[in-house]
Amino acid sequence: MPSRIKVANPNRCIGCFSCMLACSRTNVNSVSLIDSAIDIRTSGGLESAFVIIVCRACHDPPCARACPTGALTPRDGGGVVFNKDLCDGGKSCAQACAHACLPGAIHFNRSGMPLICTHCGVCSKFCSHDVLELIKVEVL
């Protein structure tokens, strides 16, 4: 059964960024925040709650529909599989994600390539406060 990331307890976030560092360390072999496929941020400084943006694992994902080169294809269990060899860096996917009542979960690294969540769950392993969980999902 495939899995997906779920924001289980957003209000428990302490803003340590361990999840983002885990994502870039594991999936991109770098230490960075912008190489992370998930995005934790404040909106109004530390006085405000944390905003937690992750891929929502859509079935029939708008990002895949918008991709003109076929670099994104629907994944079993929701979300997409990314074939970077086919990506031309055109950013249609990010626009589709941001415009389809979705969180704008796709952003880009320094060389303009999108960071696409694989729902590997490493972020949840490095969340000390159970904000993120990896859950099993049925294949539709």
Partner: protein
């Protein structure tokens, strides 16, 4: 490996970036490199509030890489003590500097008009701060900068309030609303440079030479921080847990250290705060502990259930300084006082120390209502203390000008030096545990309880019967090794995790090979370099006067005698050569 230094000249409005591998290879980073930059950049005998006095910021080789390497170091010449100034901060600054690509930042000169620095990756700008210069509150200043600056979501914003603008000698620099470069007056140095704020963000991707070794180390450290009980003290009640502990041990300075326990300690305890006022806990970037305890203070301002609420971070030291030491009996009142200091960006330990001395001096008629402008300072009277804090920042007369320079200066002018509770010109931290705490703060390079943890050596001495020499040896060990820790830069709260061997292994995991002996020698070298600067600026361990109150009030280890302090200080100087 990472050795970029950003030099900013506020006089000329220019900046340059230089690779200082020469310094970083030898001194690692953090406090080690900052000390060398201070020696290079700070002219001997300079007025700490003059344009020539530099501000140095540094991070280290583990910053943003391994868990709890979350602190940034600042160095400057202190306007409070006129010798070495050093302060450390958590929040988001260290990580923001790492990802902006600057391992150190040197700020010199004085802007000809109110300015702030905007640093986003390679873009460095000195911008006009006319509209925010007179905004007294650090919170509002942060809100305005957030609206106009890039880097939204994870940037760091340092700023000063009215205390810094008016150059109160112990003004701090607020970092990311809830953390501070506190103690030795960096806020006043910002003010003297017409520098209201610094905003930093970055998007660097860091390459690690051996990623698999690095990941192994990361996992090991993360697990020991999160899955063992070594950090429990910090994420449960937080440091405020110390109120009840030290109260029972008779180590809790109360009412200007007239007492070492407080009859109302229970109502200011970490337990009370956590059960009744704690609202949330948050973390510094790259630290999974989450030790920043934030309370909600809800106050009614009008009939008909009209409330305002404020979120205020608290810690043990703050509750001591603006609570027990002023005889305050309600936790909510302590929060009101902390909030006022935060608003103005005043160091809470110094502000509390100054008010405690003034209260006793007022009690003894050494100062009069005409000095205080009619404010009848009295133990436990929160409203009077709030008014006095306003006056310290505004400095309308000679008395408040003296208070704005710290306890030692005020007592030198008005008398009452026997109960002017300072060591080496710095208001003390919240420990009257015994001789190691006193010696530790005198000899510590920044006169901080965290330089060597003297209080904790006293606590060991209470169960293990340590000789005076043994205590001195332990202070020296901490003085040296914490130089290494502060060069990496790891949070001292995680010192239980970062043992000698873990420091060696952590450095190796990012490609830096050092042996135990090399690190120990380095720690000592950095310590001595700091003393070189301190002596150059006139600091002399032979001329330290300990106010007699320290000997009169019983400590956790009983009454401390002047002979013990003299003996330990002599031993310390013989063994370290300072």
């Amino acid at each position: 490996m990472w050795s970029n230094v950003l030099y900013i000249d506020l006089d000329k409005g220019e900046h340059t970036i230089r690779d200082r591998a020469d310094l970083f290879d030898k001194y690692l980073g953090g406090t080690g490199v900052a000390t060398q930059l201070l020696l290079e950049e700070c002219p001997a005998g300079v007025d700490p509030l003059s344009p020539q006095a530099p501000i140095i910021l540094s991070i280290g080789p583990l910053t943003a890489l391994l868990p709890c390497a979350s602190k940034a170091v600042s160095m400057f010449k202190s306007p409070l003590t006129n010798e070495m100034g050093e302060s450390h901060v958590g929040g988001r600054l260290a990580m923001a500097m790492r990802f902006a690509g600057y391992d150190s930042i040197v700020i010199k000169g004085r802007s000809d008009k109110p300015s702030y620095l905007s640093i986003h990756d390679e873009e460095v700008k000195i911008k006009d701060a006319a509209s925010i210069w007179d905004v007294s509150s650090i919170e509002v200043t942060g809100q305005i900068l957030r609206n106009v600056e890039p880097g939204k979501g994870r940037r760091s914003i340092m700023r000063i309030g009215e205390g810094g603008v008016n150059q109160v000698r112990y003004a701090n620099v607020n970092v990311d609303t809830y953390r501070h470069f506190g103690r030795l007056g960096l806020g006043a140095v910002f003010g003297s440079k017409n520098l209201k704020a610094v905003v930093i963000s970055g998007t660097e991707e860091i390459d690690i030479p051996d990623m698999s070794a690095f990941k192994k180390m990361y996992n090991k450290l993360y697990n020991s921080v999160v899955d063992t009980d070594v950090m429990d003290k910090y994420h449960d009640l937080g440091t405020a847990a110390n109120i009840n502990v030290l109260n029972q041990l008779k180590g809790l300075p109360t009412k200007n250290l007239k007492q070492s326990s407080f009859e109302n300690a229970e109502s200011l305890s970490g337990e009370y705060f956590a059960d009744n006022l704690l609202f949330r806990k948050i973390a510094c970037s790259n630290c999974p502990i989450g030790c920043i305890h934030i309370a909600t203070l809800k106050t009614q301002f009008h009939k008909g259930h009209e409330f305002e609420f404020r979120h205020i971070s608290y810690d043990y030291e703050l509750i001591y300084a603006l609570g027990t030491n002023l005889g305050i009996t309600l936790a909510e009142d302590v929060l009101r006082l902390i909030d006022r200091c935060e608003r103005y960006s005043l160091d809470v330990l110094s502000a509390g120390g100054v008010l405690a001395w003034a209260t006793e001096a007022y009690e003894r008629d050494l100062i009069t209502p005409s000095d205080t402008l009619g404010i009848a300072l009295r133990w436990g009277d929160t409203d009077k203390y709030l008014k006095a804090l306003d006056q310290i920042v505004k400095m309308p007369n000679k008395f408040y000008q003296a208070l704005a320079k710290g306890t030692a200066v005020a007592a030198a002018e008005y008398g009452g030096e026997d109960y002017a509770i300072n060591l080496a010109g710095v208001e003390i931290a919240g420990y009257h545990t015994g001789p190691s705490s006193i010696i530790g703060q005198i000899v510590g390079v920044r006169h901080s309880h965290l330089d060597n943890g003297g209080y904790s050596i006293d606590q060991k001495a209470s169960s293990q019967q340590l000789t005076e020499e043994k205590m001195v040896d332990k202070i020296i060990y901490e003085d040296y090794w914490r130089m290494v820790n502060n060069s990496l830069v790891c949070c001292l709260f995680a010192r239980g995790v970062y043992s000698e061997q873990i420091m060696i292994d952590s450095l190796a995991s990012v490609g830096i090979k050092k042996t135990r002996d090399e690190l120990e020698a380095l720690g000592k070298e950095i310590f001595l370099a700091k003393y070189q600067f301190k002596k150059q600026e006139g600091f002399d361990l032979g001329r330290i006067k300990v106010p007699s109150r320290f000997y009169e009030t019983v400590s956790q280890l009983g009454k401390v005698t002047p002979e013990t302090i003299d003996n330990m200080l002599t031993l310390y100087r013989e063994k370290t050569g300072v």
